[in-house]
C-alpha cells in the first residue's frame, strides 16, 4: 500500500493505494495518531486507488473518524470502488461515515461543514 498526504485548499487529504488490510493498516493508524490538522481537524481520505479493504481497515477508519469528531471535525471518505462500497453498505458503516463520490465533492463537503461550525 502507498500512503501520501497533501494539503488541498487547506484541508488534509490522505491518498491511499493498493490493499488496506490488517498488514498495512498500522501505517494509516500512525498517520491518524500524528496528524496535525490545524486549524480544523477535517481529513479527507481518498480511496479511489484502494482495491481491497478488510475489517481491520474498517476499524482503522472508524478510529480515525472518531478522533476527528472528538476535535469537532470529521473524516470524509471519497472515491470508493463498488466492491468496497458494498462492504460499507453490508456493515451499515455507510450511515456512520460522511461519504463523497469524488475528491472535489469531499472538499466541498468540508467547506460546508466548516461554514456551519
Amino acid at each position: 500500500m502507498e500512503l501520501r498526504n497533501e494539503k488541498i485548499d487547506g484541508i488534509m487529504v490522505l491518498q491511499l493505494s493498493g490493499r488496506f488490510d490488517a498488514y498495512e493498516s498500522p501505517a494509516v493508524e500512525q498517520f491518524f495518531q500524528r496528524i496535525n490538522t490545524d486549524p480544523l481537524p477535517y481529513v479527507i481520505l481518498n480511496l479511489i486507488n484502494v482495491n481491497f479493504i478488510d475489517s481491520t481497515g474498517l476499524a482503522t477508519l472508524t478510529i480515525g473518524m472518531k478522533r476527528c469528531r472528538q476535535q469537532q471535525g470529521d473524516l470524509i471518505l471519497c472515491g470508493m470502488q463498488q466492491p468496497i462500497s458494498i462492504i460499507f453498505q453490508l456493515t451499515r458503516l455507510d450511515t456512520v461515515f460522511t461519504l463523497a463520490s469524488t475528491l472535489e465533492e469531499a472538499i466541498k463537503t468540508v467547506h460546508t461543514l466548516e461554514t456551519k461550525s
Binding site: Y23, D54, T91
Partner: protein
Amino acid sequence: MNTPSSLRETIRLNIPASLKCLNVLSECLAAILAHVPDSQNMDITTYNIQLALHEICINIMKHAYDEHAYDEQHASDRIEVVMVLDLQTNGVEIDLFDDGTPFDKQQDVEPDLVHGQIHGYGLFLAKNLMDSVSYERLDQKNHWCLTKKLGLS
C-alpha cells in the same frame, strides 16, 4: 460419474500464519476464479470471496494462534488452504485447516449495525459474503469450510 478434470480446478496451499502472506491467497483465488466463464458481476464476486477467505485467516491468526502472526516470531504456525472450483455445479469451496487453539463459538457475536462499532466485523463479513461458513474441530485440527455458488449470465 467422475467430474472431468477440466471442470474441476483445485489449488492447495500451505502458508505461514502471517499477515504478510494473505495477499498471496487473494491472488491465487483470483487466478482460479478467472477460469469461470460468462459469470455475472465476477469482479464483485471475486472480491467478496477474497475478503471472506481473508477474514477467516485473520480469525485463525488472532485466535487459534494467539496473534503470533502479528509478531511474526512463530514461523511454524501455518494454515492449509484447499480451494476447489467446480464448473459443473458452478460452485467454489474453500477449506482451511490449522492446528491452533479450538475456535470459541462465543466469539461469534453479531456486530451492532445500528450504532456501529470499531472491531468485530470479520466473521460477520465472511458469513454474509459466502453462502455458507462452517467450523468443526476434527482430529486436533480446526476446519473451516466456505462455499459459494457463482451466478452465470
